[in-house]
Symmetry: C3
Amino acid sequence: MSDAVSRISLGACLEQVRSTCPLVHNITNYVTVNDVANVLLACGGSPIMSDEPDDVFDITSICGGLNINIGTLNSRSIEAMKVAGKRAKELGHVVLLDPVGAGASALRTKTARMIVDEIHPDVIRGNISEIKSLVAGSGTTKGVDADAADTVTEENLDAMVQFVKDFASKTNAVIAITGAIDLVADAEVCYVIRNGRPEMSKITGTGCQLSGMATAYGWPRRSA
Amino acid sequence: MSDAVSRISLGACLEQVRSTCPLVHNITNYVTVNDVANVLLACGGSPIMSDEPDDVFDITSICGGLNINIGTLNSRSIEAMKVAGKRAKELGHVVLLDPVGAGASALRTKTARMIVDEIHPDVIRGNISEIKSLVAGSGTTKGVDADAADTVTEENLDAMVQFVKDFASKTNAVIAITGAIDLVADAEVCYVIRNGRPEMSKITGTGCQLSGMATAYGWPRRSA
Amino acid sequence: MSDAVSRISLGACLEQVRSTCPLVHNITNYVTVNDVANVLLACGGSPIMSDEPDDVFDITSICGGLNINIGTLNSRSIEAMKVAGKRAKELGHVVLLDPVGAGASALRTKTARMIVDEIHPDVIRGNISEIKSLVAGSGTTKGVDADAADTVTEENLDAMVQFVKDFASKTNAVIAITGAIDLVADAEVCYVIRNGRPEMSKITGTGCQLSGMATAYGWPRRSA
């Protein structure tokens, strides 16, 4: 996995998406879904949305990646996440989990953990509170935004880097924690990215869009 | 309630939202939900959307207000409205009802009345046809827009002011009827606002956005 | 039907929509629904969205047209499509089918064919792969976009024109296949429109918007 992370360069990722035009299956929330579709198209991918259990097996089978976002989960879409997740893994597709609001409700925390434990996503992308709630149930997620008490800062950076690498090791996934400081890690390497802008928290959906794009970028890696 | 209405000033409301950053739980339609989320962020609040009965108890518990909008209601979301509405009232949160399309179908009228009768929302915001259908079933809602026959005009203004104050008294709620002329009233005071622009009916979601914002503005009032 | 097609002029259509302001019932996907609502408003119509079986009978009864789009279909909305479709036809309303992703999953293909066979839509609008999958199950739909192998070109134009006229004859519907070259046909006349722009495939929802507009334009035809 370390190799996978270290080989990532944005230019190469974009070029790869543009040349392969991956079809990405999104089981995602209805709040930001239009922006997710448009960002996938803008970066050279192709989106399809489906959250009906009777539909997702076929749909995910023709795709290259699966983006699972629990932002407006319900009993039907949770079942679809399971069916699609298992099928996508069988086929070697990249599966990404965006655990929106994990920690904010028992259902969200339980569902996100179920996906981690049963589907084994290749990438987990969330804010620090959501990721913490996946690890220990100790997160203090404030709705769909990270709690200030959880923020990654220069002061707690070493501890946070260790935390994210440990979680990556435990889940065998690439973990991306986004915020003012982003941490992107596998078990051995953690990138610290200081590009956060406060404006990004003043519009909805930047995280969801990144999850969609990351699923597209990750697509051809498996078949390489 | 009269005091509550009379104390409202837009500047103070905005300042209050910015300083308290209330988390608003929205059970709302998937047509305008993205704009509702963005308007809540833009005015200093924080949105979370959840319409699954098994999720809403927890979600609304961490919020400060609940915005119930029946624009694309279904059997699952109606159940969620009940669960969340009861919980929000138990906790003293502001609950707003936006009865989109009440009068246009039996299910919408019945659901909106059920929420009025069982949840006792603090604010009800709709167009004149929707509000009329809540009172007497006599509204002639044309889809999600008010019927021309129901319009508030300078000619029928006195009667309309009495109508809205009576409904506010009966429901013990602040009633906001929006259109070319807006009426915002409790049992004793009715504000008449002549700021309507015909352009506002040429895009979707202005009413839904206002309902989201009004839920945010109303949030700290209860704990004051 | 030929007369209906031959009489279409964009200016007259727009004028008709503006003067009659038709209410259009949309059972549509949550990806592009906001743009569909706004395009209907922009062209002079009025949108309402409802996908709950217990709601759609009443809602479609007060409308002039029904736009059925299967882009994010589920078991509940499929039932709503049946109920609304039958009611709309009883009332002589225009019914349009947008078979998003037909060919990409068994459920989508089966649902789109069920609507064709049981509801008899007046208009079917899709990309070439979707329409092919309705005819023979032979389409090679790539997600929600047409497969390159199916593209309408100058080379296969005569065969494609015959194909679309045959399908129009079989279904007694106006068939609109959109792409780089659009084909709009009934059993006897096929218009070939060479206005496609590659940019249109780089944003989501242009097809869904056209389907909404076409339902509005078709509305007063039946009562004329």
